[in-house]
Amino acid sequence: MQQKDIKRLTLYLLFAPFVLWIFLLILLPHIGMVILSLREKIAPRVYEFGLGNYIDFINEPIYWNTLLRTGSMSLLVTALALIIGFPIAYYIAKIAGNRSRGGLFLLCLIPLWVSDLIRAFGWILLLRETGVISTFLLSYGIIETPIEFLYNDAAVVVGLVYTVILFMIVPLVSTLDGMDNSMIEAGYNLGGNSFTVMRRIIIPYAMPGIVSGCIVVFMLTAGSYLTPILLGGKNSSWFTEQIYDQFITRFNWESGAAFGFLLLAFTSIVIWLGLKLSGQTLANTVAKS
């Protein structure tokens, strides 16, 4: 009997940090944010319960255009990261020799921890009018006058793909690494060509890794702040910028909270759809990477 009590006590003790963390830092703040977003300011220090902040969002095309733009560009970045990253992951996991495999994987893991700020800074130095690429092309006479490569959508997309692509490659390498080569050989022996083997064997096997990479990459992109601002300039119109603007610049927390909730709802819906369409769950994708 005493043994059982000790077990139960241990369980409670282990539960305490988990509950404090999830309840106080995740659930409660988000509930608070939703409640705040439903508060309308009708006069200084006078508030009313209502959907006013969300109605403002719908009535102001700049706001929902920004959200749509952020969403569609994030999907583009996710797709690009997958298309560019999959061959790299496949090379590291299946084609590179035993010795170079570890080294290549290490080369992918180390830049993962360099701050977004430094990566964006590096791109600024490369792409701006007085930057490395422009100066280089100028000195070889390929262009006549310096070119500004920054402050356009292409620069933002390149910078974002760069920032997030390793979060795509690393889970893909882990999944592909666990795949038995004989499965691929069997596919060939049964008469499949490269395309069929890829479509019927490799991609289905790598699905948890693909989904996991896509979820993390999409979320990081949609929630990114530094890269769009620094590489896209004042007109990058990223949704996180609107949230910052409402919160810090205009001090309109009610509407900022509504925007925050909209971004959260939007990314959650996309992630949920992605999981449903690919038949995966959060536990067997993100948790494993």
């Binding site: 369980l11 282990l14 940090p17 988990f18 963390w21 830092l25 995740i26 703040p29 988000h30 608070g32 944010m33 705040l36 061959p87 090379y91 299946k94 084609i95 290490l106 080369l107 893991l109 180390i110 830049p111 993962l112 921890w113 360099v114 701050s115 977004d116 700020l117 430094i118 800074f121 600024i124 130095l125 490369l126 007085t130 490395v132 100066t135 280089f136 760069y162 390793l166 691929i184 050989e185 490269s194 490799i202 979820i215 993390v216 949609a222 929630g223 990114s224 702040y225 996180t240 949230i243 910052y244 919160f247 927390w253 900022g256 909270a257 971004l263 959260l264 990314t267 959060l282 536990a283």
Partner: protein, 286 residues
């Protein structure tokens, strides 16, 4: 194999692509790091010669990073914050690992999902939601019982909480994966030989988990150090390095001292990342 072992034109093209990718990966980091050594007032070509002034010089206009008070203070706050975040998140990550690997309780799967969720919430939203809750609590206490709780206002405490809120998911996953590999018969053997539960935990289970705990701690430290999105909303007057650098970039414009800091951080985080990988690798190949 998908590609035959014989060197075909396709394989060469494939290799060229991989090489191009790694150049793409390295280019901005090389650019950010290299200009730290250029003897010029602007981080741009042409190359004016090698210098270490942007690290060690002590006078304007070429004030080196190790003499720049504001940058050093940012570095210091970053270290303090990252240290707290790493310690806290490894502790809670370890208890979470025991909870989910050993514990048996209702709704375990749902709670496990809840544990992963912070990783897929955009950092900006974690920042504002914690800011809102802390400020509301502080305002409420001030209004009703006239109690001013300074730590609930933006500052180091909130930054630590904000980063801790999602870093803990990472540490929990790393330590859980390790604990799952643990062979329970080792504990049973020790118990049969008369060891107490506390002793078994101290001499067998925790040493087994140590590599994962160290690796998780390093990762937590690095994630905290480089975090910007969550920190941006919770920061008070004690700004960590990423915030200080961003301010400098936005207000003063970039000077090579920022390259010096970048170089320092790239080398530092690269070395730490390497250590965290090596620590885990040694022990997993049992």
């Amino acid at each position: 194999m998908l590609i035959s072992r014989k060197p075909s034109p396709f394989l060469w093209a494939y290799r060229a692509y991989v090489l191009a990718f790694f150049i793409f990966l390295a280019a901005p980091l090389v650019a950010a790091g290299t200009f730290a050594f250029n003897d010029s007032l602007f981080p741009a070509l042409p190359w004016q010669g090698f210098t270490l002034d942007w690290f060690f010089n002590d006078t304007e206009p070429k004030l080196g990073m190790f003499h720049d008070r504001r940058l050093l203070r940012g570095l210091y706050y970053s270290f303090v914050i990252a240290g707290f975040v790493a310690a806290l998140s490894v502790f809670v990550g370890t208890t979470n690992a025991f909870l989910f690997v050993r514990g048996d309780f209702p709704a375990k799967n749902a709670l496990y999902i809840l544990m992963i969720v912070p990783l897929v919430i955009p950092g900006v939203i974690l920042g504002i939601s914690i800011l809102v809750l802390a400020s509301d609590t502080a305002n409420y206490l001030e209004r009703t019982i006239d109690l001013e709780l300074e730590f609930l206002r933006p500052g180091i405490f909130l930054v630590v909480l904000g980063q801790f809120s999602f870093v803990t998911t990472i540490t929990s996953l790393v330590i859980t994966a390790r604990l799952k590999k643990f062979d329970a018969s080792m504990e049973e053997a020790a118990l049969n030989l008369g060891a107490t539960r506390a002793r078994v935990l101290r001499t067998i289970t925790l040493p087994f988990l140590r590599p994962a705990m160290i690796a998780a701690g390093i990762v937590a430290f690095l994630v905290s150090f480089e975090n910007f999105n969550t920190t941006l909303f919770l920061v008070g007057s004690e700004a960590p390095l990423t915030i200080t650098m961003y301010d400098r970039m936005a207000k003063v414009g970039s000077t090579p001292v920022l390259n010096a800091v970048s170089f320092f951080l790239i080398i530092g985080s690269g070395a730490l990342a390497l250590i965290s990988i090596l620590v885990q690798r040694d022990k997993t190949d049992r």
